[in-house]
Assembly symmetry: D2
Homo-oligomer: 414 residues x 4
């Protein structure tokens, strides 16, 4: 299904070589200022061609709002958005061996298995261009989240190949135990991250090592993967639906839907499996009062937060008000400028595929805004789901067992 | 939302201390033999009280089919299933400090933030009992998958704390590069896994080490996490929806919806980020002819498979016919038999919470059938989605660009 | 799909002769008092065996809440509900011709075409017992709507066969032009309707004629249809989603999903096609201030209402605050105690089917609470959807183009 | 929600005065020939300006496919479609009283209540231009249904004001009892209907009367409603989901989502309430063998049909293979060229609104292709749902209780 979300919903269309790519955002709150200028910055951050270590395709990627706004204000109706595909040439990735061989670890073969159509662009929807609609939609979600709750979402590169910003150690089997990492999560923002272009690893030394390594890989006509870490600050508590649609489940779904991803972990993640419960448990403390945590209407702010944050801001699938953070694994891009031995489509012979197309040696830096966009979509959709529940609860009388509903965000008992 | 799936859909209800827990399975194919005997085995494997290292609660967990079958045959209508809660006592986990303090890293606090109701059972739906409905539903999906396509789904414990069955090494930064691991995936089955009760790690030495370690942790009134690996063999190719609902995205969603999970990786996973593309790419080869791969009707078998399988059986979000495998991280259980310092509900003081409830020191072994159940639900739902597409395509004439549709699973061109 | 609704969602299970029938209600607001006593009255109103003109089956239909409440308060988690099937005997409707002939205008044949399974209970889910889950779920929705917004939903019988309470005339081609009808909609309530048992037509003369007519039809071993009209008062304005999910579209969906229905009309309906636009248009006037329209929090009350109400309380698919009313057509029950000539299942011969089962000569009176239940589900689901939007909008600053959001239901400009 | 359908899904965007209107069709079967030429004819039939009795706006409405096809073949990926709004002038319908008064029976007021935004185009999504996306999507569904199953969908005008093509009589209280009507349903097609432009009532005399009447109404600066009847022939049996998503429920939903509709009836409809069960019941007979009913693969054709068809081709919510037919009520258009007395937005005074905009005196003729499009969407979506079930069932062994699955549409037992 090409739709994501239940209340704030995004439907995308388009593949690499069709007329345009785009999306429809359904369920956006009405009355929000919104123009293309709110959306373009993340489109541009996602765009290839930003430096020597990304693909040289010179796409312009100008987003055009088709509907859903009038005089720069959202109407509450579906917002259609479109980006023209300037480069509509089919089949320019390689020589004609492309007709004979499905590219290893690319989607040519599985698309054929799924659809039974031999398309010249192979696994068209698996193209990175498909992510344009996501980033456009994510920018709208982000604008609302920022305006309404001061939510800040920032992603950055934490590893490229074996070069890690915060490698696991015996002392810190997971970064969630590492004070340097946890401190960084409190302050990191996009401007800082973009000071470390093209790799977007906000640590001088690691960033440089990663850039060097990507250069070596590119010169060797090879490719390499890495990880992106993302933090969401000021996210309201109470978001995420118990059982199947836990906040971490929806984030995992969102992240593993990004092309080339192989893994997701939240909070302590895989490293957290190696820590004892008595260490891993996050004791509650009173939440500090900040500018973002007061005087807001709507869903009230949590009175408590946690002293440590191995949970990644989520307990029982529901946000607790502490920062939500997670890490996403990206594999090395499948398209490499080396000859590869593989079977033909008919399976009757092996041969050599010489892929010569334009490609990124490492997609991790460009993935940063896509990770942010998908995170914004998940939070926004869950926020609106919780708003329906919270608003419905506000209409009921307070009982012995129920918390006096916070009207306008100020709990009655404070 | 308490529903999982789009075509084969499961809706669950129930918390720890209510009258019963259960589910409704909607969309099950009609005409399949099905009785409670098909479902009970996985219920029993999930059940606590199987050994000294799991919780001593003596639940019986007998599943009762309410509807959707007649004389042992599915009707195609919704299958209601129910398991009585024999133990309906509220609030017996600890002393009355439970009223004052939300348990650290448990869902007491976030449920209160979400719902505004002080329930005696705290975050009721976050209880492991909620997974009963999933396991029951998964057993139905599994039966169909086995009957129709010979699909085999087996999960097993691959680490407990720092004790790993296949630790990453310099040579094999990811198990997907490790021949021993890849061979195991070809043959492992549930009987073998259950030979290694109670830990369910199918390696004599590792299993014993893990059991010892869990024992130590229990004696220290502490808890520990671990990982479960799951393999799905004979899964048809072409499953998984491009873009948002990629196979790996749905598996990640499913797994991170299981209580106490913190991470998911498919194929090479996080370790795959450290491998060069030229090594990571999986060359295509002709698929071997096996009993499962021939003479079946329906969605045809893939003519190709891959020589290596770093992809984890999925490319571009779609299965390629090779085994699908993934790993899930479970944190140490939050409930421990130690005193813990934490804030009160009101946030106005810190105090000591003495949790004395019954609990598992390590949930990983019991999670094995839950992981299998959720995997079955994802595959089944995606299979039926692909069946709709494939059956619709079969009604169209073959064109130059389209593959002659395989009728009854036999491609016309072979 | 056996699920209804998007935010307030009901999933049902069960057919006539299985162990139990029931439902899961997902998305109920937390903190609402709820026990079986809130649900049973509508169950009982739906129950057959209330008088000589309904079926003599003596079902008890006691609803049992399984989950989702604690000490009589909703938790916000899924509410499982169940009613045992006391009468589980299969195949007792007729003689063994039932095995040979699909009953005319019943669902035996189409269920076989759909599912390919010969069930002894024929089209099991098409049984009136399937509506039990709907009525139980509807009772929960109604309780909330009444508590939170004073919403009143009342249905009643408006025709049986050719006997009409408000027959169309040249002067009033549609009841929406008839002052007597429009006045009745302002005051009619369930107690009044139940004063006219068993037919439930709140007009002495028409009620008696209908009862007589049903008696004649029963004595002739025949059956007859009729119409039910339903009014929803105090429904908040702004409910209903433009485009595909207009309020009238969802009501039509809900009503045509009730067994034996053949038509739906809202407001002026089919008769409205015959009225000129200048007469049909509903001019706006200031809304009167009533107890229900003030001092409520949440979604504010409309300042305007309409002088006439041919629209049926809905314009552009969205409620305007005026009463919503509609009419539903029920066909004569297919099961009659007459011999019927029809083809065998194999289609190779015609023969005579002698149906002797217990049946209602007219289902219209029993349909009254089912219509009310489905109406409640539609309003509740749309209310919660609008609450999400409204609450989200409340967090944005007021602009020149936007209405100052009513906080706590009191518009800032009043 | 701006999405319709579960498997074959359409999402639309756009209002009257934005940059473009359009839709995304998700779930289209791959490998089907499709170009804009397949879609444009219905777009043109829907277009205003076809004659003196429709609005003089000269819209071109050229559809442009954005994605999802390559070289004229569907890829199986989402099909984006767009039509430019040539006329983007806001607020040109009337004089400035439009700023002060919400138009009676139009959506200006309810959109403001719902969204809280004062848009210059009033209830923008309630515009007839919103239906462009539906018609485009419907054309794709129709093409598939025609190619794969010979499905024929034809709608036509059956009444305008009090002028009826088949008025109810004492002998035929419902057209389903009228042989002339039932015969027409067997043969009517679009070419015939368009011979009766501009009214599209396929009866010389009635058509002329209707045209005359519309002319009178237009000259009186007034408007009038009417009804559209639609028949679907060759629809496979077994379509429609029991319980909430019955075929008639989905059709009703679809039809009542079209702007200006007030009612829906299937088969005998409201008139059927007045017929005895012994007359209303449709006896089964062997289905005739026709070109469409043999030699097709996929879902098999029903061996039986019904002698009469009061059911409208649907029993228990599931198609039985007989023609499906239904009738839709359209109210008189709200926009009329007469002064109307109504309240201001503020509700503080009454005044006169002088609407001078371009408008149709009767929308019924233009509604014909929209009704066809929505019918196609419902059938297509339900067909694909049934295909998933049927294909899944085909993989199971035949049991005593199950019908041998028809492979390639030929039942094994024939």
């Amino acid at each position: 299904m090409s739709t994501f979300g239940k209340v704030f919903r995004v439907t995308t269309y388009g593949e690499s070589h069709c007329r345009s790519v785009g999306c429809i955002v359904d369920g956006c709150p009405p009355g929000m200022p919104l123009t293309e200028d709110d959306i373009q910055p993340q489109m541009t951050r996602r765009r290839p061609g930003q430096s020597a270590i990304t693909t040289p395709r010179n796409e312009k990627d100008r987003v055009m709002i088709q509907s859903g706004t009038e005089k720069g204000i959202t109407l509450g109706t579906p917002i259609g958005m479109m980006v023209l595909n300037e480069d509509q040439r089919p089949k320019d990735y390689g020589d004609k061996t492309m007709d004979m061989y499905p590219r290893p670890s690319h989607a040519d073969w599985t698309y054929l298995e799924k659809y039974g159509v031999k398309a010249s662009s192979g696994g068209g929807r698996s193209s990175a261009r498909e992510t344009i609609g996501r980033v456009a939609a994510g920018a709208i979600a982000e604008k609302y989240l920022k305006m309404a709750y001061g939510v800040e979402i920032t992603a950055f590169t934490t590893s490229v190949g074996g070069v890690h910003m915060f490698p696991p150690t015996a002392e810190y089997p997971t970064p969630s135990q590492n004070p340097a990492f946890m401190n960084l999560l409190q302050t990191i923002d996009r401007d800082t991250v973009d000071n470390f272009l093209p790799v977007r690893c906000p640590d001088e030394e690691a960033n440089e090592k990663m850039a060097d390594y990507i250069g070596q890989v590119r010169d060797a006509h090879d490719s390499i993967g890495g990880t992106v870490t993302c933090v969401i600050r000021n996210v309201p508590s109470g978001l995420g639906e118990p059982c199947f649609d836990k906040m971490e489940a929806e984030l995992a779904h969102a992240m593993l839907s990004i092309p080339a991803t192989k893994g997701f972990e939240i909070g302590s993640g895989f490293g957290g499996c190696e820590v004892l419960g008595s260490v891993h448990n996050d004791p509650f403390i009173r939440a500090p009062v900040t500018e973002e945590s007061v005087a807001k209407t709507g869903i009230p702010r949590s009175k408590l937060t946690t002293k440590t944050n191995n949970s990644g801001g989520v307990q029982g699938g529901i946000t607790n008000g502490a920062p939500v953070y997670f890490r996403v694994a990206f594999k090395p891009p499948a398209t490499i400028s080396q000859a590869q031995t593989t079977a033909t489509y008919e399976g009757d012979a092996e041969g050599v595929l010489a892929a010569k197309g334009r490609h990124d040696p490492c997609v991790v830096p460009r993935a940063v805004p896509i990770v942010e966009a998908m995170a914004a979509l998940v939070v926004m959709d869950n926020l609106m789901q919780q708003m329906a529940r919270h608003a419905a609860r506000l209409q009921l009388p307070t009982l012995k067992q129920t918390v006096p509903p916070a009207e306008n965000g100020v709990s009655m008992d404070t």
